[in-house]
Symmetry: C2
Subunit: 293 residues, 2 copies
């Protein structure tokens, strides 16, 4: 495994890798969720590249950039164990050198949910991801469904800008109690950690209702909100049942939905989601007129 910092070193090492390359962008503090992306990339490509970069452009001034967890040595060991070929660990000055002034904005899909609560977040994400695509020139890039809106924004950006690669989305990896793996979980004290499984329980409750035929967006959102309200340590930031492509809140679920939520547990803000797809059963019950005509 080669670990490089300078862009010129990255390009030189990249050129030695023939065949297909899978890229896994990360902010380090790796957990099983990241490793599942690496394994999928390894299975589908001749080589795997990983970036480790805590991107200042996607944190706003009130956020946890400075205390975001770091564990570079451990991260590199984990990636080496997985058979990763190339790791880029740039400093902020390498990614945003003096005079840097180019930013990529995705519009509609970056506005609600995380975009509304974290101004500038997705501009930072889209920009750094485009840079990673150009720096690694991968054939496929791997992202976790855990960050659902990020997936929508990155897919939109890659399609809109004609990036010549495939975006592969991998399932959220969970702890035994259902808590989605996240680098931010280390912020939780034991009591908060126990409470944190409420995000998963709320999503399960809404999915159960959906599977039983509930199609009203308000009801699905209310079910998630009620499930969280029972936990005194948990404070809802948002609950959402939205169109999976546009992220517009749904009145009625007709062709699948993204159930998502953001919850504060103490000082830690956690997000999670379920992507509900049309079931054969729901198709029979509510024929999709958009495709039915």
């Amino acid at each position: 495994m080669k670990t490089v910092s300078a862009v010129t070193d990255l390009r030189r090492e990249r050129q030695t890798l023939s065949g297909t390359l899978g890229l896994v962008p990360t902010m380090g503090a790796l957990h099983e969720g990241h490793l599942s992306l690496v394994r999928r990339a390894k299975a589908e490509n001749d080589h795997v590249g990983v970036s480790i970069f805590v991107n200042p452009a996607q944190f706003n001034p009130n956020e946890d950039l400075s205390k975001y967890p770091h564990s570079l040595e451990r991260d590199l060991q984990l990636l080496d164990n997985e058979g990763v070929h190339l790791v880029w660990t740039p400093t902020p000055d390498i990614v945003y050198p003096p005079g840097y002034q180019t930013y990529i904005s995705v519009e509609e899909v970056a506005r609600p949910l995380e975009g509304e609560r974290r101004p500038g977040h997705f501009r930072g994400v889209a920009t750094v991801v485009a840079k990673l695509f150009n720096a690694f020139t991968p054939h496929r890039a791997y992202f976790g469904q855990k960050d659902a809106q990020q997936v929508v924004v990155v897919k939109r950006m890659a399609a809109d800008l004609n990036f010549p690669l495939e975006i592969v989305v991998c399932p959220t990896v969970r702890e035994p109690d259902g808590l989605a793996m996240s680098s931010r979980n280390v912020y939780l004290n034991p009591q908060e950690r126990q409470t944190a499984a409420v995000l998963y329980r709320a999503l399960c409750a809404a999915k159960h209702a959906y599977d039983s035929g509930e199609r009203r967006g308000d009801s699905l959102r209310a079910i998630m909100a009620s499930a969280i309200a029972v936990e005194p340590l948990a404070q809802i930031d948002y609950v959402s049942a939205a169109d999976p492509d546009t992220l517009a809140e749904l009145q009625t679920v007709e062709r699948g939905a993204l159930l998502s939520l953001a919850v504060r547990i103490g000082n830690t803000r956690l997000i999670d989601n379920f992507l509900l797809t049309e079931t054969p059963n729901s198709k029979l019950q509510t024929p999709n007129l958009r495709f039915g005509l």
Copy 2:
């Protein structure tokens, strides 16, 4: 020569081209300026790709998008004669399909001069150029010095976003009287056409003063303005003596300058520029402290 419209066709034809590719982005209405880019690209690469696309995103509502000159058949014949391998002639719907929502903004260098007079212009330019880079994946891309600020914006964007290619800037091609070649020159009636050479004369006058030792930005700007003022058909939009990298107006020229101007001749707005570089003589007279320490 292959001419394609769909992105999938472009990608398929691109893949058949081995070795290096030079890209020449154009809006059609080709003239000797464009052909000089094509010839340079041909000399420096195994294959040459050209795009012909009048990009709506870089025209604002008051501008001449609908009457921008078209001559596709003639353009394709000219490119075929030059030995171009691949031409992309997409429709606006192919470049900006329904749901399109991603834009690239370059900040400081896109603000003054053309950016100030044509709001949104460089956002449109940066976005479509990034798409062309991703669609063609060229090794080199060729731009004319005629559009000096576009060159600065595109270079900044390519560097900032780590595009894996080289930007090659080619000299402005001029008519015998000095008028810079431009697709918009066809708008000029015979009297206006005669007047239009005043842009070149103004630039020559300022360069002459510079070569004679004039280093005050105000004086260089005033010389250009005076040269244009003598032409009753010509109306100044701006005259500029700016830093070639930041495009900030200069009080004193210390390490070269971009002299540029925009002038209305009747209803037609023309631009032109000279890039003044440090001469050995000027170095002796005004040692550059930034490098001299």
